[in-house]
């Protein structure tokens, strides 16, 4: 089994905070155009334009999306009492994705009415339905069993995938291209508007989930045990499902399918500092932000001058990691 965590949370916080400027600098530097600090102060230069209109919003997006994926992963794992839970594996991302594609393909009228909110909103609703479904079906006395959870996840992923295929079939060439690229996951074609949308959702989700750390610890004791300690379990589950679906939905709406971040990041933090959610949630958000930013840098350079979709990079890292976890658990059992 995993050790209870040898590193003090404060130490990890300091290390991650120290790494942050480095990652930010790297992200801002990566690209065709090499810029010097002097360029940034010349408003009319190309470098200034690239910086303000491309690299800076992209950095903000990877930081925000990474933080959201990290923290929702940790929250979902605690709620399901299962370290293998991840929004992309259990079908939350797929549910959100399906709803968002439906909005892209069918919702022209709605989009023109509601504008930028339409996509995140539908993704949120899709994510909410998927989370509720997995939780309802998979929940047992000992939490949500890995098998049931993954099976329900497979079912939801399959339903969402076939739904998306059907929608693709009926969409015109332009929408089809839009859907295909969006599904691969990436944050390169978004501007400041996406940043503001994501920030608007990220703030309440992050603050809300951070405040649940202690309660999540008690839920890990078991639902009955938590209730005996005075936790209103049903209310707590509602809040957690709502906030997680909101966070995942927002990321999916802005960046498409970016899987495995919510699995890998909380797991690494837990290995380092132990499972205490009071520290795990904020540190998973911070590491998630850095991890996704680094993954985005890799996506930019690995087949330069072309770009790899971000979702492909995270899946290339996360897939094998997930397999390793399963093997490790089997040996441990």
């Amino acid at each position: 089994m995993m050790p209870a965590g040898a590193l003090h949370p404060r130490t990890l916080l300091i290390v991650l905070l120290a790494a942050t400027p480095l990652v930010i600098w790297l992200a801002l530097q990566t690209g065709e155009l090499v810029m010097s600090p002097a360029d940034l102060w010349t408003p009319d230069s190309l470098a200034h334009q690239v910086f303000v209109e491309l690299r800076l919003p992209r950095l903000c997006l990877t930081l925000l999306a990474g933080a959201l994926l990290g923290v929702t992963g940790a929250a979902v794992q605690a709620m399901f009492r299962n370290p293998l839970a991840d929004p992309s594996l259990i079908g939350v991302s797929a549910g959100a994705g399906f709803a968002a594609v439906a909005m892209l393909v069918l919702g022209d009228a709605v989009v023109s009415q509601m504008g930028a909110v339409a996509l995140p909103l539908s993704a949120f609703v899709g994510g909410l339905l998927a989370t509720g479904l997995v939780f309802r079906i998979g929940r047992g006395v000992d939490g949500v069993s890995v098998t049931t959870m993954l099976l329900v996840g497979i079912a939801i992923n399959a339903i969402a995938a076939s739904g998306i295929s059907a929608l693709k079939y009926f969409s015109d060439a332009f929408t089809l291209r839009q859907v295909v690229f969006w599904l691969m996951g990436g944050l390169q074609h978004q501007g400041w508007q996406a940043v503001w949308t994501l920030m608007l959702i990220a703030l309440p989700v992050l603050v809300g989930l951070f405040s649940q750390g202690r309660i999540l610890n008690l839920l890990l004791l078991g639902e009955r045990q938590a209730a005996l300690l005075g936790v209103s379990v049903v209310r707590c589950h509602r809040i957690l499902i709502l906030l997680s679906a909101l966070g995942v939905g927002a990321v999916v709406a802005v960046g498409g399918m970016i899987g495995f971040v919510g699995l890998v990041v909380p797991h690494l933090v837990r290995l380092l500092i132990g499972p205490d959610n009071r520290y795990l949630l904020p540190l998973a958000a911070l590491l998630g932000a850095l991890f996704l930013t680094l993954a985005d840098i890799v996506a930019r350079v690995i087949i330069s001058p072309a770009e790899m979709p971000l979702g492909v990079v995270t899946a290339l890292v996360g897939g094998p990691f997930f397999l390793m976890m399963i093997v490790y658990r089997r040996r441990g059992a």
Binding site: R81, D142, L221, L228, L229, G230, P275
Partner: protein, 258 residues
């Protein structure tokens, strides 16, 4: 003062408990005895307010247990459940500290309290160990310490569902002795046990349940006789009470009427 009145409690078409009427004074050590499936755990759950009774009521100082909100209830009532589904690698100390949650203690105070209880349960050396790596009996003692950590000034009830599971003989007696001391300080302890002899040695009130019904209740003088106990377990038993020391012997020779 605790009043338990269960006219009928059914789940999934089966009546688990019926015609149970019990009164508990503020302090004392009660033990519920009975064969498997007699409804012992169900009764504890009902007392803790974890299930709604259609016909009947549980009242703590005259107030319906369901009318006391969860956080206030957690200050007045602590319970050790039979299962412990915790499967994340918390340290032993952290698990015990979670018990302090309803009391709203500071970090230092809860750490101090947890350490004291770990010492009480003879677990002080394991404080920083990963809970998941402990043996079954050790885990049980940790959970026991966690539930004891929940006790505070307002505590009235301590419910324990098979608290001795997995414990060695020394820790069984240590635990029961500690519970008996607690029960003399204004706390009502109600435990489900499987060993009538241990119950007779430590408890001052025995409750005998069989097939969801109350067979007998009272102190040793009322329930400690061959007929009552043999009937309870469907097993020929010979019991005695010499100079206040309870003894019990299973008459294994003619067990199944061979």
């Amino acid at each position: 003062m605790l009043n338990v009145n269960v006219q009928q409690f059914c789940r999934a078409g089966r009546c688990l408990l019926q015609d149970i009427e019990l009164q508990f004074a503020a302090s004392g050590f009660s033990v519920i005895l009975g064969p498997n499936g007699a409804g012992k755990s169900t009764l504890l759950k009902l007392i803790a307010g974890q299930d709604k009774i259609e016909q009947g009521r549980v009242r703590l100082d005259g107030t319906d247990i369901h009318a006391i909100d969860l956080s206030a209830r957690a200050c007045r009532l602590a319970m050790l459940t039979q299962e412990h589904p915790l499967n994340f690698p918390f340290s032993v100390l952290d698990v015990v500290r979670m018990g302090c949650y309803p009391l709203g203690l500071s970090d230092e105070a809860s750490a101090h309290k947890a350490q004291t209880l770990l010492k009480q349960m003879e677990l002080a050396g394991l404080a920083l160990r990963n809970y998941l790596t402990l043996s079954g009996g050790e885990k049980q003692r940790v959970q026991m310490a966690r539930v004891l950590a929940q006790l505070g000034e307002e505590s009235q009830l301590l419910l324990l569902d098979e608290p001795l599971t997995g414990m060695d003989l020394r820790h069984q007696h240590l635990t029961l002795d500690y519970l008996r001391q607690l029960a003399q300080t204004g706390l009502r302890v109600i435990a489900v046990l499987h060993d009538p002899l241990l119950a007779a040695q430590y408890a001052d009130h025995l409750i005998l349940l069989k097939q969801g019904q109350l067979k007998a209740e009272g102190d040793l003088t009322t329930v400690w006789n061959d007929a009552t106990l043999s009937d309870l377990y469907d097993l020929p038993l010979r019991v005695s009470l010499d100079a206040g020391i309870p003894r019990l012997e299973a008459l294994a020779d003619n067990l199944f009427g061979a």
